[in-house]
C-alpha cells in the first residue's frame, strides 16, 4: 500500500461527490471524475492484475489505451464489459470491478507459482510441447488458463447499438495541441471538421502539463476551437476511440459512454495527431508493481491528485521529464532522479544521480528498492522516462510506411505513403510550439515540409542482453528479452516470425509499449539496423472494441433477413412450421408432431389425392423483346427459340466452365415474351447472367429482363385430383397438355396456369399478382376437404421430387457436375450454335467416362436408409471415394429407402451392386436410374 491522494491537487475530480466501487470484492473510495486507475492508485492498490503466462503480480503502467496490466471486467447496473482498461474507465458508484487472469483475486492468485516454472515455459513452449501429444486433451485446460477477461455467458447486450454513417471534409484524429490547432485552422477555413479524442477532454498532455496554444491558455483555446468547429458544421467527440483506418478515407470510431455509438466516417481529408506514448526502460524485473511511466504519474497527480508512492525514483535521459519529478516533489513525495546523462542541467532542485541507470528492481509483490550503480536504493516507485514512441498505428493501417529517425530514435511516418497528414508528436515533434505550427499549417491545407534531421545526442536506450535477470518487453503477453534472443537463435529473425513465435505485440495493447523494444532488440541480435529489421503489419482494431458495437442491430434475424411469403400468416394459421430454405422462410410441414412422420404423411396424400404447396419463391424473370429468344439460347443449355408460345421447357444454365449453375422451366408466353423460373435461391445470380449477355452480347435495346418474383404468388396444386380440385375451386382451367401454359381472368387480373410438375404427379402452378393471393388461397383451401387433400410443406415436396429423381442444383450436383452427368447429353451432342459453357463440355475432362454421374441407389430388402454424404467405395484395392450420396429419403409410396448419388461412371453401372462407406460401416446397394417412382410418367395426367 504505497499510493495516496494529495489533499488539494486534482483538476478533474469533484471532491464534493465521493463514490465507492468494489475491486475484487474490496470496497474502494473515489471521487466523481476518477478513472478506475486513479482511484485505485489513490487508495493504495498496487497489484491490479496478473500477467498472462506466468501470473506475475502487475500494477498500473500508463495513462491511456496503452495500459497493459490494469485490465478489468466491469459490471455496472446490468451491463458487463470485459477487458476494459482502468485508465479509460470512469469510476462510478456501485461498480463491480474484477481483475483478469487471476483467481481468486489479483492479490492472491492461485496460479502465481507458474512463475517458478518460467524456465520450462520459454517462447514457443506450446508449439514445441503440444505438437505430438493429443491436443484435445490439453486444449480445454489451456483454453481455461489462456486469455484475459472472461465472457459472461449469461450476459447478452441488447442488439440496439446505434450505428451512424457520416461524412466530413476534414477528420482530425486526436485533440492534443497539434490536433486542436489543425481543427481550428480547418474550421476557420470553412471546412466541416470532425475532431475525435480518445480521452475525456481535449488538450492532450497540456491537461496535466499546462501551457499555451498559439498564445492562448490551452483551456481557452480548446473551448474556442470547439465553438469554431461546431459553428462551421463540424463535431468534437471525446471518449471516442478511432479504431480503424480503411480504404478511400473510411474510418471506424467507437464513442464510449452511457449511450455508446459506432461511427463510420468518410473523410475527404484526414489529419492524424495521435500523439506519442512514453517508452519503458529495461532492467531486471522491470514489470514489478510500482514501475510506471513517468508521464502517467504526472497525469494522475495533476488530474486526480493520485500519487503512486512516497519514495520515488525517476529514471530518465532527457529534460522532458524533469517537470514530472518537480511536481511530485512539490506534492510531498521524496523524489530522486536517476539521469543517464553525465552532464545535466544545474539547479533542478532535485536529488540526482547522474551517469547512471536502473539495473534491477527489488521486491516481489511491489518495488521495495532499485539497484543503481550496484547499490540498492530503497524506494516504493520507479518511474521510467524512456523516450517517446509515436502512435503510428492508424497511419500504417492506411498503408503508410515508416522511416527510422536515428536522431530522435523513433520510427516516424514517411510522408506521402498514406492519404493522411501526420502532425505533432505522432510524427516525432515533441516541442509544443512546433507541434502547434504543424497543426495550423495542416489545418489550412498545407503539406508539411520535411523535417530537418536531428543529430543523435547519445547512444539510444536499448534492452541490454548482457544484464542478468529477466527484462520484460511485452507486459501484456509476458515476453522477455530472453524470449527474443531465443527466437533469434532458433531462426525466427523476421519480425513477423518473431511476433508469432514469442507473441510479442500480439496482445490487446497492440504492442504500443513493446514493439519498438522488441524489434530494436532483434535488430541488435542480428546485427541489422532497426530500419532493415522492419515492423510488423498494423491491423484494425487499434483498440479493443466490443463486437456488439461493431455489429449493432445486425444480429440474429436482422443479420441476414429472410424473405417472407405473402401468405405466411395464412400458412401459420393452418399450422405450418417454418424453416429457412435458401433465404426464404417457408413451411416445412403442417401440424404438430414429428416432422419426418408429417412429411411422410403429406407426401402420401400428394400421391393419393391432392396437395397444395406455396411455390412463390420460385424465380420469375420476365425476358421481353425481339432479342429474348436469342438471349435465352445463349444463356441456356437447352434451346428456347424452338419453344412454341403457350409451352414450357425444362433446361439448365451453365457457367462458362460447363458446370450446371441452375435448372428450371422456361415458359414462352408469346413470340417475344418468356418467363425464366430460376431456382428460388439463384434468382439474383441468374438475373445477372441474363443481364451480362444482354448488355455485352445481344444488345440492350432488343431485350429487357425484369425480376418479378416477389410480385406474384404461386400456389402449386399437385396430385391425381389436381385438376378436379382447381375446377371445384371455381377456376375455369384451360385445356392444357403437360408443359402447357395458359392464362385465365381472375378478379380483374390474370391468373397464369402452368402444367409443370416437380412431383411427378399432375400439377398446376397457379400464379396471381400478390394482392390476389389471399382469395386464391381461400378458394383452394375451401375445396381441399372434399378431396381429402391437404397443404404440404417443403419437406414433403423434397421427398416427392427425389422419388422422381429430379435434382436440386447444389444438393444433387456439385462444382464438377456437367449436364451430361445428369443424363442430359442431347444439346451437347446436337447444338451447333454458341451457348454459355459450350466449349467446356468438349474438353478431355468433360469427355471422360469416369465422371461422377447421377444415379439412384436401392438398398437390399429391409435395409435402413443410407445417410446423405455416405461415400461410394471400390470393391477391392485402395479405399477411395467414387462419389457420394446426395439425397436420401424413405419413400412412403414405395415403402422403402430411396437415394440419389453422384458416382464415378455411374450411368454404366446401373444394375450393379456397389459398396458404400456409411458412417463407419461398409454396406451394399444396387445402382438404379435416378427415377424410382413411375419411370414412364403415367401419373402426369392425373386421374382419368
Amino acid at each position: 500500500m504505497s499510493g495516496w491522494r494529495h489533499d488539494s491537487l486534482g483538476a478533474e475530480i469533484d471532491r464534493d461527490r465521493p463514490l465507492r466501487f468494489t475491486f475484487d470484492g474490496l470496497s474502494v473510495p473515489g471521487f466523481e471524475g476518477d478513472t478506475l486507475a486513479s482511484a485505485l492508485m489513490a487508495a493504495g492498490h498496487r497489484i491490479l492484475g496478473r500477467s498472462f503466462k506466468y501470473h506475475r503480480p502487475r500494477g498500473l503502467w500508463g495513462l491511456g489505451a496503452e495500459e497493459p496490466n490494469a485490465v478489468f471486467d466491469i459490471r455496472h447496473e446490468g451491463s458487463y464489459l470485459p477487458n476494459a482498461r482502468a485508465t479509460l474507465s470512469y469510476a462510478q458508484d456501485g461498480m463491480q470491478v474484477a481483475s483478469v487472469n487471476a483467481w481468486p483475486s489479483a492479490r492472491r492468485d492461485a496460479f502465481g507459482l507458474l512463475d517458478l516454472a518460467q524456465r520450462f515455459l520459454p517462447a514457443g513452449f506450446y508449439y514445441k510441447t503440444f505438437m505430438r501429444l493429443p491436443w484435445r486433451i490439453y486444449e480445454p485446460m489451456i483454453r481455461r488458463m489462456a486469455g484475459l477477461g472472461r465472457v459472461d455467458p449469461d450476459y447478452a447486450p441488447d442488439a440496439d447499438g446505434v450505428q451512424i454513417s457520416a461524412a466530413c471534409d476534414v477528420l482530425v484524429i486526436g485533440a492534443g495541441p497539434a490536433g486542436l490547432a489543425a481543427a481550428r485552422a480547418a474550421a476557420e477555413a470553412g471546412k466541416t471538421v470532425w475532431l475525435l479524442e480518445d480521452a475525456r477532454h481535449p488538450g492532450g498532455a497540456l491537461r496535466w502539463r499546462g501551457g499555451e496554444i498559439d498564445g492562448t491558455p490551452w483551456r481557452d483555446y480548446a473551448r474556442d476551437t470547439s465553438q469554431a468547429v461546431e459553428a462551421a458544421g463540424g463535431r468534437v467527440m471525446t471518449d471516442t476511440s478511432l479504431w480503424g483506418a480503411f480504404d478511400h478515407g473510411a474510418f471506424a470510431a467507437w464513442q464510449r459512454g452511457p449511450r455508446p455509438r459506432h461511427w463510420r466516417i468518410r473523410a475527404a481529408r484526414c489529419i492524424l495527431a495521435s500523439g506519442a506514448i512514453e517508452r519503458p526502460l529495461w532492467f531486471a524485473d522491470n514489470d514489478r508493481p510500482g514501475v510506471q511511466s513517468a508521464e502517467a504519474a504526472l497525469h494522475h497527480l495533476a488530474l486526480y491528485g493520485s500519487l503512486p508512492g512516497r519514495r520515488i525514483l525517476m529514471a530518465t535521459d532527457s529534460d522532458h521529464s524533469l517537470p514530472v519529478a518537480r511536481a511530485l516533489k512539490d506534492a510531498g513525495a521524496e523524489v530522486t532522479v536517476i539521469d543517464r546523462r553525465a552532464e545535466v542541467p544545474e539547479a533542478t532542485g532535485l536529488a540526482q544521480i547522474t551517469g547512471a541507470g536502473i539495473e534491477a528492481a527489488r521486491g516481489r509483490r511491489g518495488v521495495t528498492a532499485a539497484l543503481v550503480k550496484g547499490e540498492e536504493i530503497p524506494c516504493d516507485t520507479i518511474l521510467c522516462a524512456g523516450g517517446w514512441t509515436p502512435s503510428v498505428h492508424l497511419w500504417c493501417q492506411a498503408g503508410g510506411r515508416l522511416d527510422m529517425d536515428e536522431g530522435r530514435d523513433m520510427l516516424v511516418p514517411r510522408p506521402g505513403t498514406a492519404p493522411m497528414t501526420v502532425i505533432g508528436a505522432a510524427t516525432g515533434t515533441l516541442d509544443l510550439a512546433a507541434a502547434v505550427a504543424e497543426g495550423l499549417a495542416a489545418g489550412a491545407g498545407k503539406t508539411p515540409a520535411p523535417k530537418a534531421p536531428k543529430p543523435r545526442a547519445r547512444a539510444p536506450l536499448r534492452p541490454d542482453p548482457a544484464r542478468p535477470g529477466r527484462q520484460w518487453l511485452d507486459l501484456q503477453n509476458d515476453v522477455t528479452l530472453k524470449d527474443v534472443a531465443l527466437a533469434a537463435r532458433e531462426g525466427f529473425t523476421s519480425v513477423e516470425h518473431l511476433k508469432r513465435y514469442t507473441t510479442l505485440g500480439m496482445a490487446t495493447d497492440q504492442g504500443r509499449l513493446s514493439n519498438f523494444a522488441g524489434l530494436a532488440a532483434m535488430a541488435a541480435l542480428t546485427n541489422r539496423s532497426v530500419a532493415e529489421t522492419g515492423t510488423t503489419t498494423y491491423r484494425p482494431p487499434f483498440q479493443p472494441v466490443p463486437l456488439s458495437a461493431i455489429a449493432g442491430p445486425a444480429r440474429g434475424a436482422l443479420y441476414h433477413p429472410l424473405k417472407r411469403l405473402a401468405l405466411e400468416e395464412a400458412h401459420r394459421a393452418a399450422g405450418a412450421r417454418f424453416r429457412d430454405y435458401g433465404g426464404w422462410l417457408r413451411p416445412s410441414v403442417y401440424g404438430q408432431g414429428d416432422e419426418a412422420a408429417l412429411a411422410q404423411s403429406e407426401a402420401r396424400t400428394a400421391r393419393t389425392t391432392v396437395a397444395i404447396f406455396d411455390a412463390s419463391p420460385l424465380g420469375k424473370l420476365e425476358v421481353i423483346g425481339p432479342g429474348a429468344a436469342a438471349l435465352l439460347d445463349f444463356t441456356g443449355y437447352v434451346r428456347m427459340s424452338t419453344l412454341r408460345p403457350g409451352r414450357a421447357r425444362y433446361g439448365f444454365m451453365l457457367s462458362e466452365s460447363g458446370i450446371v449453375y441452375d435448372d428450371g422451366v422456361v415458359l414462352r408466353l408469346g413470340a417475344d415474351h418468356f418467363v425464366v423460373s430460376a431456382s428460388s435461391s439463384h434468382v439474383e445470380g441468374v438475373r445477372f447472367v441474363l443481364e451480362d449477355a444482354r448488355q455485352d452480347r445481344i444488345g440492350r435495346a432488343s431485350v429487357f429482363v425484369h425480376d418479378v418474383t416477389q410480385a406474384y404468388v404461386t400456389l402449386t396444386v399437385t396430385g391425381p385430383d389436381a385438376r378436379a380440385l382447381c375446377r371445384a375451386a371455381g377456376l375455369a382451367l384451360p385445356d392444357l397438355p403437360h408443359m402447357g401454359v395458359g392464362e385465365i381472368a381472375y378478379q380483374g387480373a390474370r391468373l397464369r396456369v402452368a402444367r409443370i410438375s416437380f412431383t411427378g404427379d399432375m400439377s398446376y402452378e397457379l400464379s396471381v399478382p400478390a394482392r390476389h393471393a389471399q382469395t386464391l388461397r381461400a378458394r383452394l383451401d375451401a375445396a381441399l376437404a372434399a378431396f381429402d387433400g391437404r397443404w404440404i410443406g417443403l419437406e414433403a415436396v423434397m421427398l416427392l421430387r427425389a422419388e422422381k429423381g429430379y435434382v436440386l442444383i447444389g444438393k444433387d450436383t456439385d462444382g464438377s457436375t456437367m449436364p451430361q452427368d445428369l443424363g442430359w447429353d442431347g444439346p451437347r451432342a446436337r447444338r451447333d450454335d454458341e451457348y454459355l459453357g459450350k466449349r467446356s463440355l468438349f474438353t478431355p475432362e468433360a469427355a471422360s467416362t469416369a465422371r461422377r454421374q447421377l444415379v439412384g441407389l436401392r438398398v437390399p430388402e429391409g435395409g435402413q436408409p443410407i445417410r446423405t454424404g455416405a461415400h461410394l467405395i471400390p470393391d477391392t484395392g485402395l479405399r477411395r471415394s467414387l462419389g457420394f450420396v446426395t439425397s436420401s429419403y424413405v419413400s412412403p409410396v414405395l415403402d422403402r429407402p430411396i437415394a440419389l448419388a453422384l458416382l464415378e461412371g455411374g450411368l454404366q453401372k446401373i444394375g450393379q451392386t456397389v459398396r458404400l462407406f456409411d458412417d463407419g460401416v461398409v454396406r451394399e446397394a444396387v445402382v438404379t436410374a435416378p427415377c424410382a417412382y413411375d419411370p414412364e410418367g403415367e401419373r402426369l395426367d392425373g386421374r382419368a
Binding site: 480503411f246 443481364e691 454458341e834 467446356s840 478431355p844
Partner: protein, 88 residues
C-alpha cells in the same frame, strides 16, 4: 471500405459491386475452333496487374455492368465509364 463510382448512380460503397472480368477479355468463338489451351486461358488466366488495371464491374443495385479503371496498389480509382456505346 472502398468507394466506386457507378457511371449511372454515382459513388457507392464497394459492397454494392461485384467484380465481373478484366476488360478486353474477349470470348473465343466458335467453340469448335477454339483449342483446349485457348479456352483454358480464357477461363482461368487473368493479368492481375500490380498497378493500373481496367475491369468490368457490376453495380448490383442498378444491374449495370461498366468499366472501372483503378490502381490495385494505391486503390485509386482513375475512371468509370459505361460499356462501349452506352450513354451514361
Amino acid at each position: 471500405m472502398q468507394r466506386f463510382p457507378c457511371p449511372f448512380c454515382g459513388p457507392r460503397d464497394e459492397t454494392e459491386f461485384h467484380f465481373a472480368v478484366e476488360a478486353g477479355h474477349a470470348r473465343p468463338e466458335p467453340a469448335g475452333a477454339v483449342s483446349d489451351a485457348a479456352w483454358a486461358a480464357y477461363l482461368y488466366e487473368a493479368a492481375s496487374p500490380k498497378g493500373t488495371t481496367r475491369e468490368v464491374w457490376l453495380h448490383l443495385t442498378c444491374g449495370e455492368y461498366f468499366l472501372l479503371t483503378r490502381d490495385t496498389l494505391t486503390r485509386a480509382v482513375n475512371a468509370s465509364e459505361p460499356l462501349p456505346g452506352v450513354a451514361p
